[in-house]
């Protein structure tokens, strides 16, 4: 168990980063372990106020959903690796937010990853962009072609038609078809 966080250290951090008062109040209202774990992450990763806010919101949501304390979430292996890592503070802060988002939206993360993998596996030429909707918020997939001249366009269209079956499968995935039972 970590030592109770020093409220003054939390207040100092908040004042230096101009953290909005409601977030400071929520932070101080956490239990001692959660308060300390969040402070360790904030200082260790030299977070900006905006990053702390985003991380804090995600942590609270995961904590309520999974009925687990914030300190336990920050102690998970994939999170710990980032907190203890050696990269730059901002890089690790961004990685932490990405890891927390994946914990908060695990099925969305798996779905996005699988679709991205399937698109990459097509090896389509430059000039074709397969764009699933942002956060898979709709069932609509877009395909963009960027060509200079008819010859290049024909080449891109050929590539698309060679991959028509795989593209249809990807479009199906975006529309909710073709997933394994426990995948999403």
């Amino acid at each position: 168990m970590s030592a109770p966080a020093d409220d003054d250290a939390v207040r100092e951090w908040a004042a230096a980063r101009r953290l909005p008062a409601p977030y400071l109040a929520r932070w101080l209202a956490l239990g001692p372990d959660d308060r300390a774990a969040l402070l360790e992450a904030a200082t260790g990763l030299r977070m900006r106020a905006g990053q702390l806010i985003a991380a804090f919101d995600l942590l609270e949501e995961i904590s309520v959903r999974d009925a687990r304390p914030i300190a336990a979430i920050l102690a998970r292996d994939e999170v710990r690796r980032i907190l203890n890592g050696t990269g730059s503070g901002p890089g690790r802060a961004a990685a932490l937010l990405a890891a927390l988002r994946a914990l908060r939206f695990p099925r969305l993360a798996r779905a996005t990853e699988r679709i991205a993998r399937e698109i990459a596996a097509l090896g389509l030429p430059r000039g074709i962009r397969i764009a699933p909707p942002r956060e898979l918020a709709s069932g609509e997939i877009r395909i963009e072609l960027a060509a200079h001249g008819g010859e290049e366009l024909s080449r891109l269209l050929d590539a698309l038609s060679r991959h028509a079956t795989e593209l249809a499968r990807i479009a199906d995935l975006v529309a909710g078809v073709g997933w394994h039972d426990d995948e999403i």
Partner: protein, 368 residues
């Protein structure tokens, strides 16, 4: 079910109405009754209360409705496949308290539980609509309120059922999460009242649907009104795509079909959880520990938070498959989803609102 009230406010002008008299006669002892010149003021949010919306639910305001009773469904829009529903606003707000309820945003400024004592004026509007209609119409009272909550006090359902019993081409839909059906059981609706229940799996009920009847109690109530000669329908709405939701909904449908034969069900509507950013913020503020409000919702193109599309569509499909396995042909429709989603999930383009509305109104009697 019985709900608690802190006070009843009666607009002076309405104090002699049958509804005001019925409510006051049936109130439990100790609930104060105040007479006020303008119920609209009594219905306003009490900004000094810790939770003005919750406080409003406990304050019944018996007042005159000043605008039309009949409106189009507030959810109707060109964006969505639509079921051609008409809404009759006889009350506003609800004594139950569901974490996801859109009223938290919709009536935030006027959360008093308003009951319109001049509701019989709606019948003249209905007569005009009936005279002009070229198709059967379904008219619901359960959009801005639960149709049966407090019916033990207001007794409104009895007048409504009797009115509709005499109106060919009009179907009344009473939509509820209660089991307050006693007022209905001895009436002959002549098949022109449909009682519908919104159903959720046990986990959602326990987590989010405060003061509602349990899903089992709702299903049992449906069976009783069916036996009393009413038509019944069900709304799986909002469908919450939490982990294990497909199993939860399958178990819920098992229980439903074991009690209410699928062949006797007029329709089952499906609608995924959807929340405007304002509603989501209000809901989370009021229920910060409800995990059902913390699903994998993302901002959808219509500006509402919804479960991301593949997840939502898979769940719709699984539910639709389970329903079809019980009885192919049970009418299923989607609420507040695009035509593309409708096609994708139900395998056919959505019918025009008027046609779907007519089918839902006319029900199994004609084409089921």
């Amino acid at each position: 079910m019985r709900f608690e009230l802190d006070a009843v406010y009666v607009e002076e002008e309405m104090r002699a109405t049958a509804l005001a008299r019925r409510v006051i006669a049936a109130l439990p002892p100790g609930v104060p009754v105040y007479h006020v010149p303008d119920g609209r003021i009594a219905a306003r949010a009490d900004r000094g209360a810790a939770d003005p919306f919750a406080a409003g639910k406990r304050r019944m305001v018996i007042m005159r409705r000043r605008s039309r009773f009949l409106t189009g469904c507030p959810a109707a829009s060109n964006e969505f496949a639509c079921c051609g529903y008409l809404v009759m606003e006889l009350a506003s707000n609800c004594p139950m308290d569901c974490g996801y309820c859109f009223l938290q945003e919709f009536v935030a400024d006027n959360p008093g539980f308003q009951v319109y004592a001049n509701y019989a004026d709606a019948f003249a509007e209905l007569d005009r609509v009936q005279a002009a209609a070229d198709r059967p119409l379904r008219i619901g009272t359960g959009e801005l309120a639960d149709s049966l909550a407090f019916d033990s006090l207001t007794g409104m359902s009895r007048d409504l059922v009797r009115y509709f019993a005499g109106r060919a081409g009009l179907t009344l839909e009473l939509k509820t999460k209660t089991d307050e059906i006693e007022n209905l059981l001895d009436l002959d609706s002549r098949g022109r009242t449909l009682v519908s229940w919104t159903l959720s799996p046990e986990r959602v009920f326990r987590s989010s649907e405060h003061r509602t009847a349990s899903p089992s109690a709702r299903i049992a109530a449906a069976r009783r009104v069916l036996e009393a000669g009413y038509r019944v329908g069900f709304h799986l709405d909002p469908i919450i795509a939490c982990d294990g939701a497909d199993r939860d909904y399958s178990a819920l449908l098992d229980e439903l079909f074991a009690t209410v034969p699928a062949a006797r069900i007029e329709f089952i509507s499906l609608g995924g959880l959807r929340m405007t950013p304002g509603l989501r913020a209000a809901a989370r503020r009021r229920f910060p520990r409800d995990p059902m409000l913390l699903g994998e919702e993302v901002l959808a193109p219509d500006g509402r938070y919804r479960a991301f599309a593949p997840l939502r569509m898979r769940l719709y499909e699984a539910i639709n498959r389970r329903i079809a396995r019980e009885k192919p042909g049970v009418r299923v429709y989607l609420c507040m989803e695009s035509a593309a989603t409708y096609r994708r999930v139900l395998g056919a383009a959505p019918p025009a609102p008027a046609a779907l509305g007519a089918r839902l109104a006319d029900g199994n009697r004609r084409d089921g």
